[in-house]
């Protein structure tokens, strides 16, 4: 289990334990955290699980997959620290990870 904090655009925090091996997107969906839609269910075919990852974490998480930036082009207000949370795999190294959610996903 790894502690992950999801911060909604309005500042509301959700600190939850997510099983290693799941994705950050699945952690949000399983814990009923609002702000991550994940319309395509994690197949990197939409951009509705978009999150912002602070610099210190951005370097630590697994690198972007091929095609992830193509999908992020279609995300709502993408920034240089944007990721698709369905592509971030939870592991012990991510203990304490904080992700911020955009104002909306679509």
């Amino acid at each position: 289990m790894t502690k992950i904090t999801y911060i909604e655009h309005n500042g509301k925090n959700h600190k939850v334990d997510v099983e290693n091996g799941l994705t950050v997107m699945e952690g949000a969906v399983q814990n009923d955290i609002p702000g991550i839609d994940a319309d395509c269910g994690g197949s990197m075919a939409c951009a509705t699980c978009h999150v912002y990852v602070k610099d210190e974490w951005f370097k630590k998480i697994n690198e972007k997959n091929e095609g992830e930036d193509d999908m992020l082009d279609q995300a709502y207000e993408p920034k240089s620290n944007s990721r698709l949370s369905c592509q971030i795999i939870v592991s012990d190294e991510l203990e304490g990870l904080v992700v911020n959610m955009p104002e909306k996903q679509t």
């Binding site: 197949s43 930036d69 709502y76 207000e77 679509t106």
Partner: protein, 339 residues
Amino acid sequence: MIKTDALIVGAGPTGLFTAHQLKLIGLNCEVVDNLDKIGGQCIELYPDKPIYDIPAVPECTGEELTNNLINQLKPFDIKFHLSERVDEVKKDGDMWIVKTNKGTSFNTPNVIIAGGVGSFEPRKFSVEGHEKFENKSILYSIKDKNIFKGKTVSIFGGGDSALDWAVELSNNCNVNLIHRRDEFRGAQATVNKVHELAKSKKLNLFTKFQLKKLNGSNEIESIDIEDDVKKIVNLKTDYVLGFFGLVMQLGPIANWGLNIDKKTVEVDTEKFETNQNGIYAVGDICNYPGKLKLILSGFHEGALAARACFKLARPNEKYRFEFTTSSKTIKNRLGVKGD
């Protein structure tokens, strides 16, 4: 007004197989979909991606799956209403009156919602005030390219639509192409062409820029774009085009009086009926304890919903379960020779 035994909303894999099941048991049906083609998410989101969990099909792409399902429907005459979105569903006695945004209306005892995550709509700009310019100086698709002749057009996006239109419109317009990073996801030949045109000043290329502000009262006069290091560039422009792909929105389904929670519709697991008699939900859009969002689950749900439709479409007949391997009636419907 079109009369039919069942109306299917959504032409994705679940909607297609549900149509097949309806026709097998002798009911007629019509299908409406907001996309301009058959296949739903399979064709719009992942036509080239392999799927590995369709029973008895070790591997196929979204496009292959769609084509196979279309082939499976070949024996039947099914009318598809594409590029139409169902806007209204209203009760009229025992029937449902269904209307689309193009004015088509249906009279049917059964409505099967196989709508996935809703209908695909173009993703829009998020900057303040974009709504008031939309469909006037902000467009997300092009119906008549001649309106741009001699004008300045600012195109946003990095995919094929953005690039193709930038190349095309650079013939007789002043084109700004703006993209949030310096890599493009369009076809390489088009990307090369764009760079060539930029080099010879036939179009102005701004990479690592995004739209920051729209200026103008009734019509757009100029836009501010901002790059990674917050540098702002002001561009005079007549039109702003956004090509950011499609997003799925639940849309009008939310207004049909159904039990909706988290963009899904609650159903029972016997008929896949919603809280409204004669309205069913199958595939990704339905929810019940243990629901799996798999294509194979959609097939099962559609098969059961189709049987439920029989009762309302043929109230005076008894449904008899038959196998395709042995039933002469079914073989006749399929147009294959019986033994």
